[in-house]
Structure formats: structure tokens, C-alpha cells
């Protein structure tokens, strides 16, 4: 029991003393997950909205496929990206395996079906009514998509927060394509996993606390915005 209490105490010290290693890891985690979530959102939100209001053949099959991909294991995404980016792979010439860029690519692929699926569902259920009103007021196709995004912005923000949470908390993909290299590709989750296997709990607990604080902060931000609206 003592080692747990000591671990928590030391974790507190690491955070309070602004330990360079700890903050380097936190910064990289935030950078990779935020970048992948933003990149994915730029494409996935308009696409999800459009597909939600559009009637097309195979829509049911499409939704099943997207819902399946929403829960794809991160190690599979990591494995596919690693194969593609490995030296012998089709994209090996890019020479980006074991870099933050590869981690961003893997996480973007991981969260894209999630954002498309959640936005598609939102648009399918509530977008049609907004589309109808927009059309009767003279809105074109692009105007309608912008209108729906604006009308559903809070729900869309919740979807983005969900995707960000998935990105920052996953370990499989970043471990495989990043390699957990110190001061280069080491992020919160890969560090916790490594420290746990080494029995070095203070650092693992400190980063675990940070992960919880980030999660709490993101959710608080969204819910306070929801409350304001």
C-alpha cells in the first residue's frame, strides 16, 4: 500500500516542480491528438452532415460500415499505418515511421469514422428539418451545410470532444507507429504503459492524473458552453 501512496506523492512533486520530461510528454500528446482531431474534423463534419441529409443507394450499408469502423481497435489502425509507412511499404519513401507525423496520421484515421458516424447520425435525425427550412428560404447546397453546422454546433462540439478523448487515450496506434522513443514520440499513454511494466509508478500516476485533468477540462468546457447556450 505504501508504494501507492508514495507514488501519488511523487507524482504530485513531478507536476508541481514542472518536470521537463513530464511536460514534454504532455505537450506532444496534446499536439498529436489535437492535430489529428482538427484535421479529421475539417473533412468529417461537412461530409457527415452531407451524407446524413442526402438520400443515396446503399445508405443503410454505409451507416453499418461507418458504425463498425467507429469501434475499430487502435492497434489495427496502428498496424495498417505501420505496414504502409514501413521501409518496404508503399509509402516507405516518405520515411516518417516513428515520427509524430505518423502518429498524427494513425490517430486521424482512428477518429475519422467516429466523427463521420456521430455527425452523420446527428444530421440524419435533425438535419433534414433544418435543410427543409433552409431550402424554403433560398439556401443553396453549401448554405444548407453551413446552416446545419451552425444549428448543431453544440452537438458537433461534443462529437469532436469525444473524438479527441478517443485520440488522447488510445495507446495501440501511437505505440506501433511512434515507437515510444524518448523525447521524440513518447506520449502520455505509451509512457504510462511503459512505466507500469517497469514498476515505476510515480511517473505513471502523474501522467494518469494529467490525462484525467485533460479529460475533465475538455468535458467541462463543452458542458459550460452547452449551459450558456
Amino acid at each position: 500500500m505504501d508504494y501507492i501512496i508514495n507514488g501519488i506523492k511523487e507524482a504530485g512533486n513531478l507536476l508541481i516542480s514542472l518536470d521537463k520530461d513530464v511536460f514534454e510528454i504532455i505537450f506532444l500528446s496534446l499536439f498529436v491528438s489535437l492535430t489529428s482531431t482538427i484535421l479529421s474534423s475539417i473533412v468529417s463534419i461537412p461530409l457527415g452532415i452531407y451524407l446524413g441529409i442526402k438520400e443515396f443507394r446503399g445508405k443503410r450499408l454505409f451507416s453499418r460500415l461507418v458504425y463498425t469502423l467507429m469501434s475499430i481497435p487502435s492497434v489495427i489502425v496502428g498496424l495498417v499505418v505501420a505496414i504502409l509507412l514501413s521501409r518496404r511499404g508503399p509509402l516507405g519513401f516518405l520515411d516518417i515511421l516513428y515520427t509524430p507525423t505518423a502518429m498524427i496520421i494513425a490517430q486521424t484515421i482512428l477518429v475519422t469514422p467516429l466523427i463521420i458516424g456521430l455527425t452523420y447520425n446527428l444530421s440524419k435525425n435533425r438535419g433534414k428539418n433544418i435543410e427543409k427550412v433552409g431550402k424554403t428560404l433560398g439556401a443553396g447546397r453549401l448554405d444548407v451545410i453551413i446552416l446545419i453546422i451552425k444549428e448543431l454546433k453544440i452537438d458537433i462540439l461534443v462529437n469532436i470532444a469525444t473524438a479527441f478523448s478517443r485520440a488522447i487515450s488510445e495507446v495501440g496506434a501511437v505505440m506501433i507507429v511512434g515507437g515510444n522513443i524518448k523525447s521524440h514520440t513518447r506520449v502520455i499513454t505509451t509512457t504510462i504503459s511503459m512505466m507500469n511494466s517497469m514498476g515505476d509508478y510515480p511517473m505513471a500516476i502523474a501522467l494518469g492524473i494529467v490525462l484525467l485533468i485533460i479529460s475533465f477540462g475538455v468535458n467541462s468546457l463543452i458542458y459550460s458552453y452547452q449551459g450558456d447556450d
Binding site: N129, I130, V133, T136, L137, G138, A139, L147, K150, E151
Partner: protein, 213 residues
Amino acid sequence: MINLKIYLNNIKKYYDDKLVLDIENLEIEKGKITGLIGPNGSGKSTLLHIIAGLDEQYLGSVLYDSQVMKQEHYDRMTLVSQKPYLFRRKVYDNIEYPLKIRKVSKIDMIKRVNKVIDRLELEDLREKMAHLLSGGESQKVSLARALVFEPELILLDEPTSNIDPDSTKILEREIVRFNTETGATIIIVTHNREQTDRICDNIIYLEKGRVIS
């Protein structure tokens, strides 16, 4: 066909193999207020949706000034629903929306929005969030949003059902005034025969999807 605004020819609409609208020929006169009446389920709202271009799954043709309906026609018409959807923004911004997407100049936009706000007596509501308004207030805002861009054709789907008599009076007054001032064609679905007597020039009676008179 001359002087006719809307001509419906052999319109048939099915819902799961059930024929819900069967109109051989129907002419709707230009510049008039036409009341569309009939029992529930007689196809009134379906007909409005077909004219507005919101329902494309039907047989037959709708002609507008002797032309098949195109986007340019839809841009000059609007539909106000029984339960209007107002955007989650201020009343003023809701009314401004149709002008914004038409890229009307800022000065003209302010003038036109203020005019409909004044006429529909919405001054006290202009800064309120539209989606939080009561039924009567929502209907007035919805009509203001429809009138602000001065459409040639307005389709009104039971705009005064479930609202108070004062709001009904304001809406009716402004519908008639808009028709008189701009010469717009207005089609209004209603269950209220007294209302059709008060404001309509023509009445179309629908029953079981067919035009009776």
C-alpha cells in the same frame, strides 16, 4: 394558361402504394390569396410540399408561369410551416437570414428587417433567442422571415393554428397587406372557414387527395 401562376397537371403522390394525392388539373391564380381547405389527411400539406419542391417523389408536373419548376423559381418562393423551425440565434438574425444568403447590402438589409419587425410588432423580441419563443411569437417571426425577402409565392401551412387571437389578427393583416402591396401569390392551408372568408380570394377544397371544388 395566360395569367396563371401555378398549373398542376396529373399530380399523383403515393405513400407505400397508397394514393394520397390525385389531382388531374389545378390552376392557381396569380396575385391572389388562395385558401386550401379540407379534412385532415386530404393531402393539403403534401400539395404544398410538392409545389415548394420539398417533395420530389410524385408523378405529374407543376408549371410556374408555364415553365417546369426550376431552382430560379424555388428561390422566389417560400413555405411557412405549422410548427416553424427557428434557428438557434436571435430573432433579428433569423429574419435577416434570407437576405444574408442573397447577399443583400447591409443598409438595405437593416431597412428591410426593421420594416417587417415593425409591421409584425416584434420590436420587443428582436434581441431574444428565437428557439425559446412561444408558439404565437414563433409564427410571427417565421412569417417575418418569409416576407423579408419579398417572395413571389408564399405557401402557408396552417400558420394560425394553435395561436392566440391577437397574433392571428396580426398575421392575417400582414398576409393581406403583403399580397396587396407586392402582388404576391399566397396559398394558405387552413381549417378555419371564417379565416378563408376573411382573407382569401379563392378557395380550393380537397378531399381524399382530390380537388372537390
